[in-house]
């Protein structure tokens, strides 16, 4: 068991920052092994394995119903896994729940806040439960997120309620932020502000587990990504690696006739089209074999469309289904 020497609080003032110590830096922020969660005959999670390193932003991508929220609720010990093991900052959320939750902050996807309380009252209540939150940072975050904490939560729009939840998460100075669809209902300006806050938190050493189905958001924020579908991880890697797995459209203009026989033998090439000296195709996987063929023939110009994560994501889904 790891001895935690992270943030401690006293009378609303954070005494130390939430940076991992040298002793704890080797322990991953999150390690999930063989996680299974069934609801009777419904298999919500069918064996998820993943590891989130300290200080990274980890994107957890998947469509609605893929098992993202179920996985997150198991991490927080709100759900009890059917099988598998979860370690959060080296601790078991079941047996060391209080210690784990002291070090993590959570923004639920389906946000339900006490409607009769004001934002200030909610922040004060959570501060008492967490042993204190920094009041000066509360004001700063409220200004940055543009939320009025003096208003009753029931009088706030869903977007503003989400800002309150985000404020609570970033205010906590937790070592691990678990954010489930954090920008749901936020306008583009606030989505941008959220990304800034996430980057700042990451720079301060905080790990972020970012669950989302908004690909562009994950693409901009995440260091590494896991794609989940039907309760299983179907791909995992850096954003660049996922992008590399995406299909990309390639157009090549040769000086002479295209070497179609050679090109047809390339792995992952499909939808080939030859029009005079032009060769077009869709390429899956690495581009290196194509470049090797092109190096042996005079090429006038070529165009390779940069694949984005949307494309990679959809390809993965099509492959998995």
């Amino acid at each position: 068991m790891t001895l935690w020497t992270g943030p401690t609080y006293a009378q609303g003032v954070i005494e130390t920052a939430g940076l991992p110590t040298e002793a704890s830096a080797d322990v991953p922020a999150l390690r999930i092994t063989g996680l299974v969660k069934d609801y009777g005959r419904v298999h919500a999670v069918r064996g998820i394995d993943l590891e989130v390193r300290r200080g990274e932003v980890f994107g957890f991508l998947g469509p609605n119903g893929a098992g993202k929220t179920t996985t997150i609720r198991c991490i927080l010990d709100l759900l009890r896994p059917t099988a598998g093991r979860i370690e959060v900052l080296g601790l078991d959320p079941r047996s060391d729940g209080v210690a784990v939750r002291q070090r993590i902050a959570y923004v639920p996807g389906e946000l339900r806040l006490p409607e009769r309380q004001t934002g200030h009252q909610l922040v004060a209540a959570i501060a008492r439960l967490r042993g204190g939150l920094p009041a000066d940072r509360e004001r700063e975050l409220a200004e940055r997120l543009g939320v009025d904490l003096s208003r009753r939560l029931r009088d706030l729009s869903s977007g503003n309620r989400r800002k309150v939840a985000l404020l609570l998460a970033f205010l906590s100075n937790a070592e691990l932020l678990v954010l489930d669809e954090p920008t749901n209902g936020l306008d583009p300006l606030m989505q941008h502000e959220f990304l800034r806050l996430a980057r700042e938190a990451r720079e301060a050493g905080t790990t972020i587990f970012l669950s989302s189905h908004v690909l562009s958001e994950v693409q901009r924020a995440a260091d590494r990504v896991a794609v989940v579908r039907s309760g299983k991880i179907v791909a995992q890697g850096t954003v660049e690696e996922l992008r590399g797995r995406a299909r990309q459209r390639v157009d090549v203009w040769f000086l002479d006739a295209p070497p179609t026989a050679e090109l047809a033998l390339l792995p992952g090439i499909e939808d080939q089209l030859v029009e005079g000296h032009r060769f077009a195709a869709v390429l899956s996987g690495p581009i290196q074999p194509l470049l090797e063929v092109l190096a042996r023939h005079p090429v006038v110009t070529m165009l390779v469309e940069e694949p984005d994560l949307d494309e990679a994501f959809l390809d993965l889904y099509e492959a998995a289904s």
Binding site: G97, R112, L113, L129, R130
Partner: protein, 270 residues
């Protein structure tokens, strides 16, 4: 200091959240007690009413607490403490418990709370204390309203009898609150908690009131918490100490059961 603040939040938070319901119950209890006692001068020493009641079977009179209606103890028993006040305490206990536990969970409002560094058992224990706080508060309200009304409308009855009767009614409320917490500990279904809690409150009354009318069923009347609380006619006779214990122990056992069940299950999301 942090631990104290945490505990205060776990108790004071849900207590404060129930203030509307608490205010409603307070008004209802005060109006009921004061308006009932206000009619006492009209019934005081009325032989005609007693004579009219005598036409009914004795067992029926006892079932509804209407014997000796022209005496102070008989009037309070028949008008308030045989059925209405204990039933209101039971209903208050069930509804407070339901809204603080299953109702909140069903609405998805426990998600953020239980993601904080608190134990589930501390969370539910804190809510149980808050519910107990409201029942104690209502018992004090009823007691004060009763004693002041007695003095104002010249209803002469020993304060000790009134105190023990109100306390027993309050404890009956905690038993049914405990039952609601136990059910909510197993399942976050507010409809189920309410229907089973209120239904068993009514069944408890019927068992204690009607079973004694049958020679065969009479011994089973002692299974009802209503019989433990009010079977000794505490407005007339000094209440035995075991009756208090007989209500406290199952109330605590039910809360404990609810906490154990709550610790083991999944938390429902919105």
């Amino acid at each position: 200091m942090n631990a104290v603040g945490r505990w205060l939040e776990l108790v004071v938070g849900p207590f404060r959240a129930s203030w509307r319901a608490g205010a409603g119950w307070t008004i209802a209890f005060v109006l009921l007690v004061v308006s009932t006692v206000a009619f006492w001068p009209a019934f005081k020493g009325s032989t005609a009413l007693d004579a009219a009641f005598q036409a009914l079977p004795q067992a029926m009179l006892e079932a509804f607490g209407l014997q000796d209606f022209a005496t102070p103890a008989g009037y309070l028993r028949g008008g308030l403490y045989e059925v209405i006040v204990p039933l209101m305490f039971a209903a208050a206990g069930v509804t407070f418990a339901n809204s603080a536990t299953a109702g909140e969970e069903d609405a998805g409002r426990l998600e953020l709370l239980l993601a904080q560094p608190i134990k589930r058992r501390a969370f539910l224990a804190g809510r149980s204390v808050a519910i107990l706080g409201w029942i104690v508060g209502l018992a004090i309200v009823v007691l004060v309203a009763q004693l002041l009304s007695d003095a104002a409308f010249d209803l002469e009855i020993a304060d000790s009898r009134v105190i023990s009767t109100v306390v027993l009614c309050g404890l009956l409320g905690t038993v049914y609150a405990g039952l609601a917490i136990a059910i909510a500990g197993i399942l976050a279904r507010p409809g189920l908690v309410l229907s089973v809690g209120l239904g068993l409150s009514l069944v408890g009354y019927l068992v204690a009131a009607l079973f004694p009318l049958s020679d065969v069923l009479a011994p089973w009347a002692h299974l009802s918490p209503w019989d433990w609380a009010l079977g000794g006619d505490p407005l007339v006779n000094p209440a035995e100490a075991w009756r208090f214990g007989a209500l406290v122990v199952p109330a605590l056992a039910l809360v404990f059961f609810g906490i154990v069940a709550f610790e083991r299950r999944d938390i429902r999301s919105a």
